[in-house]
């Protein structure tokens, strides 16, 4: 069963397909997240555990990303402050 609007590149092999809707995913983490978000009622205990643990990992990575975004914002802000101080 193929999921509408997705294609798998020829030299790529999907990490897995969703058992409930057939959506293929390149990594197991994304598949687990998808199952937890789209089919929360169908999950068994193992799948729920997996979902919660992947979700916790995702949360950690998001925290790093937020820090990077904050850094970028600060750089942008002070960069423009300097520019305005010099030019205008």
């Amino acid at each position: 069963m193929s999921y509408e609007g997705t294609t798998v590149p020829r030299r790529d092999s999907p990490a897995g397909e969703c058992d409930y809707c057939g959506h293929p995913f390149p990594t197991t983490d994304r598949l687990v997240l998808h199952k937890g978000l789209e089919h929360p009622q169908e999950l068994d205990d193992d799948e729920e555990d997996a979902f919660l643990s992947v979700r916790a990992d995702e949360e950690d990575e998001l925290r790093t990303l937020r820090l990077k975004a904050l850094g970028a914002l600060v750089l942008l802000y002070f960069g423009f402050l300097m520019l305005y101080a010099i030019v205008a």
């Binding site: 609007g5 997705t6 929360p40 942008l76 205008a88």
Partner: protein, 503 residues
């Protein structure tokens, strides 16, 4: 709460069902922890940060631009453009802080139910269509027989101030009233229609072609200055529309092929007021831009890009830089054959088409890059379809920036023409908008882009199960949006001019 089920994500309803269903479920915890209070606090925080940030930048630009001659900025132009682009980039960074799916869904599903309109719908349509038909008839008749002065002509004022400027504004700021006004629909409803089924493969391509053709005619022919020519154009448009709607049936024609109806339908997607299930519903502006059923074909994307490009193009050719570019290209193309006018028309057309292709290709390539960068199996086409509605907010911002001045300055003339359509005053009052209107235009462009950034963010969260992927998928689109903003802000900062060689 009219939540729109999306094939990709669970909707509020399924989530609620889930929370009710199982005390045994540990998923329960994270769903319930998103209480209304937390949502409210987050909402207030992010809205205030966003408005504070954009407010200061927009106001800063506004002040620098309000000093009269349009070409003297208090800061160098590159810095002004960089600031505009950075505003978009910074708001994208800020949006990436909002990682709470429940909160995003809550914002996009929020709605206030209004009065039921279904009982009134038929009489409203009858009145609206009759009004539309009377105005259409008057416009054609007065254009041919009335005064041939643009600011005193009912035809020109109704076409450009009402249909070109005012109605789209009403549509994206309020709600789409065009289906109730559309005079051609009124006419066709009286005729036997639907002799052929509309070919599905054509999708919205006729509307894309129609929109581009209308804009091209607006640029090349003196439709905005000579009422009789405009009348002929309206007659031609009416003939095509009525013939098409009679042949394919009004529903199929106005849904797919009629450029005006498709334009108003798309602008209506940005609007806060909707008619849904027979009720008027108020939603947050732009919250329907995450709908997966708004853009279902490449032609829909082409139409949305055409909306952005036509406003950029007509802005550009009416600046001194645009005029100089055209003159340079026309003199370059002097190879000894063809009159200057013909070559000028060719150059205008070439600029129009090539710019459109560039805008479209840039957007499409962003979809391809988005797929490649995130390694997702979702096709680039589907990604492009899903992100395209957010561009409508940009188009609305451009439209408001380009047409507010026109609408305000010609509104007294329009009033006069409506009060006495047969004998309007020969020299009607036109207002000249104050200098801060320029600053307001910049604010409109930026607000449109910010709404688009938010809509893209929310769309990405609906499309991808991993939030990191959702954030990364937006980067190429943000770059394209920054590009569109910078071009638009650049055009707004250029001194105005009359396009050369045109009648």
């Amino acid at each position: 709460m009219p939540s729109l089920p999306d094939s990709d994500t669970n909707t509020e309803a399924s989530e609620e069902g889930h929370t009710e269903s199982g005390p045994e479920s540990r998923l329960h915890n994270w769903v319930v922890s998103n209480t209304k209070l937390r949502l409210l606090i987050q909402f207030v925080t992010w809205v205030s940060i966003l408005t504070l940030f954009t407010g200061t930048v927009a106001a800063g630009n506004g002040m620098t631009l309000s000093k009269q001659p349009r070409d003297t900025l208090a800061v160098p132009r590159w810095l002004y453009l960089a600031t505009g682009g950075a505003t978009i980039g910074a708001s994208a960074l800020l949006a990436s802080f909002v990682t709470d799916r429940a909160f995003i869904r809550y914002l996009h599903n929020w709605s206030l139910p209004g009065p039921t309109v279904d009982d009134w719908w038929t009489p409203i349509r009858w009145i609206g269509h009759s009004l539309g038909i009377v105005v259409l008839g008057l416009a054609v008749y007065l254009g041919l027989t009335g005064p041939q002065l643009p600011t005193a002509s009912f035809t020109i004022l109704v076409t450009f101030v009402v249909v070109r400027a005012g109605l789209p504004m009403l549509t994206y700021l309020g709600g789409n009233v065009w289906p109730a006004l559309n005079p051609w629909r009124g006419i066709v409803s009286l005729l036997p229609a639907g002799h052929r089924t509309y070919p599905k493969e054509l999708a919205r391509w006729p509307a894309v072609g129609g929109l581009l053709l209308l804009v091209w005619i607006e640029v090349i022919f003196p439709v905005s200055t000579i009422p009789s020519i405009l009348s002929l154009a309206i007659l031609g448009y009416s003939a095509v529309t009525i013939a098409g709607a009679v042949l394919f049936g009004p529903d199929a024609w106005f849904e797919n092929a009629d450029p005006l109806s498709v334009l108003f339908r798309f602008f209506g997607a940005v609007a806060p007021v909707k008619r849904r299930d027979g009720k008027l519903t108020v939603k947050l502006p732009g919250s329907d831009l995450t709908d997966s059923d708004l853009i279902t074909d490449t032609s829909d994307v082409a139409f949305v890009i055409a909306l952005i490009w036509e406003l950029t193009y007509s802005g550009f050719i009416t600046t001194q830089t645009g005029a100089a570019t055209t003159e340079a290209l026309v003199s370059l193309s002097n190879i000894g054959v063809g009159a200057v006018q013909i070559r000028a028309i060719l150059i205008y057309t070439l600029l129009f088409v090539s710019g459109y292709v560039v805008f479209f290709a840039a957007y499409w390539y962003a979809g391809v890059l988005s797929r490649r960068r995130t390694g997702t199996y979702i096709t680039a086409k589907r990604i492009a379809f899903r992100f395209a509605p957010s561009l409508l907010a940009i188009a609305a911002g451009y439209h408001l920036a380009h047409y507010t001045g026109l609408a305000v300055s010609l509104s007294p003339a329009l009033g006069m023409a409506i009060l006495s359509p047969l004998s309007p005053p020969a020299n009607p009052l036109t207002l000249s908008p104050p200098g801060w209107f320029e600053g307001l235009s910049i604010a409109y462009v930026l607000i449109g882009h910010l709404l688009a950034i938010w809509a893209a963010h929310a769309t990405a969260y609906e499309l991808f199960s991993s939030r990191l992927v959702a954030i990364r998928s937006q980067y190429p689109f943000i770059v394209v949006m920054i590009g569109y903003t910078v071009i638009s802000l650049w055009i707004l900062s250029l001194p105005g001019a009359t396009p050369p060689y045109l009648p």
